[in-house]
């Protein structure tokens, strides 16, 4: 080696800022990506004759501008955060979990079952509901994990297939009338399940006619720290990350790669299932056929934006929730289609995924090759 010098390498003279920038800017790539997406979005609104400033002011006020708006954003963000964790845990384990959507449904079906069949006092009923969601999601995701571990079948394909199956199955469980399974005989045209017992509904503050700030966000925060702790501080997390970064070395080190893969998917599914439980128990008290409408896919974007970092997911989840809640006011203020917000979201994903562009614009040095392989392996490799 080379002689070791004390502390960090001496920075010659005025290069101070540049050096700090080079060192820390890579962590800010997601922030730059969001910023760039907003700028491009503004250009697009401007070019189509809209008032981008009014639109963005509306977006801000509608999402974080008032206490009610903030409460609304928080409620919207809660499932994004929890389901984002589901994607992140799998991602850290080298698995690309496209199946959060299906796991949300699988968990929710179990939640509805214990919510309609059991009668318990709230202190028990609420935990039972959450656990039921976790078990349902975990079981569903484990199928993909098991197939991967046993046969090497790629989890991307299997989780996508399991999404279809879960959605259709839920649909059938709700719509079946001979006999009624989960559907509500009292309101056969509603396309929803029976309501869950009062005792299993999450407590919360009613902040407006339509919005109840329920306990879910606290559960989400708890899960964020649980996942961060699990990944970084426990032996299980070490196994998950090792299998995710270098399966050969994991095997050599005596870890069971198949078992770890199943475990990773089960953890991911459990998280998604709890996300579903929060929605059923905190927001609508029943499950309907189009309940999640792509939430599980947005969760992928939320996790990607946070680079699968659990703490980061709090912020990306809130951002995602905020974009959705703010969209309505933005629409009113600037007379824009609500789809504009979808375009901004798509731009954010694009700039995060194609971070070369962002790095080029802001002169940010390359990320390490280790990170590189992880992302590309998550996508396609093995």
């Amino acid at each position: 080696m080379a002689q070791a010098v004390e502390g960090p390498a001496p920075s010659p003279g005025p290069a101070g800022f540049r050096e700090y920038y080079a060192r820390y800017a890579p962590y800010l790539v997601p922030v730059f990506a969001v910023f760039t997406a907003l700028v491009v979005g503004a250009l697009m609104i401007g070019l189509t004759g809209g008032d981008w400033l009014a639109a963005y002011i509306g977006l801000w006020e509608g999402s974080f501008g008032t206490p009610v708006a903030i409460a609304n954003t928080v409620v919207r963000a809660t499932p994004f955060i929890i389901a984002g964790l589901a994607v992140a845990v799998a991602f850290k384990s080298g698995l690309f979990n496209i199946g959060a959507e299906g796991q949300l449904y699988a968990g929710s079906v179990c939640v509805v079952l214990v919510g309609t069949l059991l009668q318990l006092p709230p202190v028990f009923h609420i935990p039972v509901g959450i656990i039921a969601g976790a078990i349902g999601g975990a079981a569903w995701a484990s199928i993909a994990g098991f197939l991967k571990a046993r046969t090497g079948a790629h989890e991307v394909i299997n989780t996508i297939m399991l999404n279809y199956i879960a959605i259709r199955l839920t649909d059938w469980l709700i719509k079946s009338k001979t006999p009624y399974l989960l559907g509500d005989p009292a309101d056969p045209s509603s396309a929803r399940t029976m309501y869950i017992a009062e005792t299993m509904r999450l407590p919360g503050f009613r902040v407006s006619d339509t919005i109840v700030l329920h306990l879910g966000i606290l559960i989400a925060f708890g899960l964020v720290f649980l996942v961060a702790w699990l990944l970084n501080r426990t032996t299980i997390g070490f196994e998950l990350r090792t299998v995710g970064s270098n399966p050969s070395a994991a095997r050599y080190a005596g870890m069971s790669v198949p078992r770890t893969i199943v475990l990773a998917m089960a953890c991911a599914g459990a998280l998604a299932g709890i996300g579903g439980a929060g929605e059923v128990m905190g927001v609508r008290y029943a499950l309907s056929t189009d309940f999640f409408s792509g939430l599980g896919f947005d969760a992928i974007a939320v996790a990607l934006l946070a680079r699968a970092n659990p703490i980061g997911i709090i912020f990306s989840g809130l951002l995602w929730g905020g974009l959705l809640t703010g969209a309505r006011l933005m629409q009113v203020r600037a007379g824009l289609s609500i789809d504009v917000i979808k375009i901004v979201q798509a731009l954010i994903i694009m700039f995060v995924a194609a971070d070369q562009i962002v790095r080029f614009i802001y002169r940010i040095p390359q990320r390490s090759s280790a990170e590189e392989t992880m992302i590309s392996r998550g996508w396609g490799g093995g």
Binding site: M1, A2, Q3, A4, V5, G7, P8, A9, R233, T234, T235, I236, F238, T242, S245, N246, S248, A249, A250, R251, Y252, A253, G254, M255, S256, S368, S369, A370, E371, M374
Partner: protein
């Protein structure tokens, strides 16, 4: 300082290059000149800054200070693209080939031969490659898949890749580390052939014999600085070693009498299939006793890899049995075997031995992470892990600015030292070491060899697998020669000459090679 080389003009010059990494000055004011038609050998300890300097010349890293001139003109941009254009080709310490693609596809990658826009012309690419391989005596089949080639052939593909892009300056970073001695000799012949045709070569190796055999000029780096320059005529292995390390190095291991104890490893009639489902190990019988070193001599690819994998639980054997310390571990899981006190230095450190994105701390406990003191229950104890890593780095002289840097930032040899340190400091009964000194400098080899002997003296059974016959000869108490997946002879070290062992390794039988000293076993 000799200036003549082969007497040609200077084709590549680096002036006062300095390169810093966080906490480390990898190159400190290094200057270098390469003349046309010469082979310049670059020597230096692990982490001396050789690969860094080469990566700067090739444009992969940007120097902090200094300038590079190719054929007298400065190299402006730091990018491999520019370097390739200017005629610099590099074969990296760790190959950069795409295993699922053919030789021709790999060679033409980025320079595809097309027939009209978007159409690859495979036939013409193949012809061009055949022409190159004829011209320089580099034998390869353009249509073969990389994954099916042995390392020697992959190396040739890397060289052809560089030549295909019209490189006339070749940088070879430890090309012989993974080659058999025979392949290394072939490679050196090729290098000679290349320089005769006007190419110029920078050659990095830790094997002093090769340096003396092939170099025109030798440059030595230590701690990022040039500490001297010499020629093979003026140097000896000992003088080179001293120049590199800064002290004199014992090139021979001191090994006292062995005191063998009970049988620790017993392998009976073991058959193992390789990835292609062919029988790679055919009926191996082995015994290793406590306190002895059994060396497995053999040309690479004769089943050593699969044998070791079967012993360590990484590959299920087809038939036969493996007993370790009295336990039947045939087909057992790696962890079961490891928990019996079996340490394994894997042959492929990049793939199996390390998680390159992990800091040294996590890598130091890759196997023991779940045991106290590194974990209490499910919770890991970072302080204990860190202490352990600090100790390994200290004891085994792993050169790194901190134990928190990722393993990928270590030089190749220091990565290997970290693995050796990790495996040696465990509770040991059986040590299985595959190519333990691959890519390691002479000073560290001395240290590791002494450690192996020390373990043996402490009563550890050692199974040493090495492609270096010299290493086998200097360490082993007994030697088993493996050929085509079978042990063709097991002898006490000293019973057969180097040449006889070489013949056995090449598949000749013992009858054709009468022993010079028919002494009986010393034990």
């Amino acid at each position: 300082m000799t200036q003549q080389g082969r007497g040609g003009p200077v084709v590549l010059e680096a002036r006062a290059i300095t390169k810093r990494f966080p906490g480390v000055v990898a190159n400190d004011n290094v200057s270098l000149r390469l003349h046309q038609g010469e082979i310049l050998a670059l020597l230096g300890e692990n982490g001396a800054g050789k690969s860094t300097l080469m990566n700067i010349l090739y444009g992969l890293y940007q120097q902090d200070e200094g300038a590079i001139f190719v054929k007298g003109k400065p190299l402006r941009a730091s990018s491999p693209h520019e370097s390739i254009q200017r005629g610099i080709g590099m074969v990296h310490q760790h190959f950069q080939l795409v295993p699922v693609m053919s030789v021709a596809e790999n060679v033409t990658l980025g320079n595809e031969v097309t027939r009209g826009p978007g159409w690859l012309d495979r036939r013409r690419a193949g012809e061009q490659i055949r022409a190159l391989s004829r011209q320089y005596g580099l034998e390869v089949d353009p249509d073969a898949l990389i994954a099916d080639l042995d390392v020697g052939a992959q190396q040739r593909v890397e060289i052809i890749k560089a030549l295909y892009r019209n490189a006339d300056i070749l940088i070879l970073d430890e090309p012989t580390a993974v080659l058999t001695p025979q392949e290394a000799d072939d490679l050196m012949q090729m290098m000679r052939a290349l320089t005769r045709q006007g190419k110029s070569i920078i050659f990095i190796t830790h094997k002093l014999r090769e340096v003396l055999a092939v170099a025109d000029r030798i440059m030595v780096l230590r701690a990022g600085r040039v500490v001297g320059e010499t020629t093979p005529a003026e140097a000896t292995e000992a003088s080179l070693a001293a120049m590199m390390v800064g002290r004199s190095v014992m090139l021979q291991v001191e090994r006292g009498e062995m005191h063998p104890g009970a049988v620790v490893l017993e392998v009976t009639n073991l058959h193992v299939r390789d990835d292609r489902q062919l029988l790679a190990v055919r009926g191996v019988d082995l015994q290793v006793r406590a306190g002895e070193i059994l060396g497995i001599a053999g040309v690479q690819g004769n089943g050593q890899t699969e044998l070791v994998q079967a012993l360590t639980g990484l590959r299920a054997p087809e038939s036969g049995s493996v007993r370790i310390a009295g336990h039947d571990v045939t087909g057992a899981a790696p962890r079961q075997i490891s928990e019996l006190g079996v340490a394994h230095i894997p042959e492929d450190r990049q793939r199996d031995g390390l998680v390159s994105s992990y800091p040294l701390t996590d890598n130091a406990v890759l196997e023991l992470y779940y045991l106290p003191p590194f974990a209490r229950g499910l919770v890991r104890d970072d302080a204990a892990v860190r202490d352990h890593a600090e100790r390994l780095v200290q004891e085994f002289d792993v050169r790194t600015p901190a134990v928190t840097v990722p393993a990928s930032s270590l030089s190749g040899g220091n990565q290997q030292k970290l693995i050796v340190a990790r495996e040696f400091t465990r509770e040991l009964r059986l040590l299985i070491a595959a190519q333990p000194t691959r890519g390691i400098d002479v000073g560290s080899i001395e240290f590791i060899h002494n450690q192996i002997v020390k373990k043996r003296d402490e009563g550890v059974a050692v199974l040493l697998v090495s492609a270096e016959l010299d290493e086998i000869l200097s360490l082993s108490d007994r030697i088993a020669v493996i050929y085509h997946g079978a042990i063709v002879a097991t002898v006490n070290n000293g019973d057969l000459s180097r040449e006889q062992l070489g013949l056995l390794m090449a598949g000749a039988s013992l009858d054709e090679t009468p022993a010079v000293s028919p002494t009986l076993a010393r034990s």
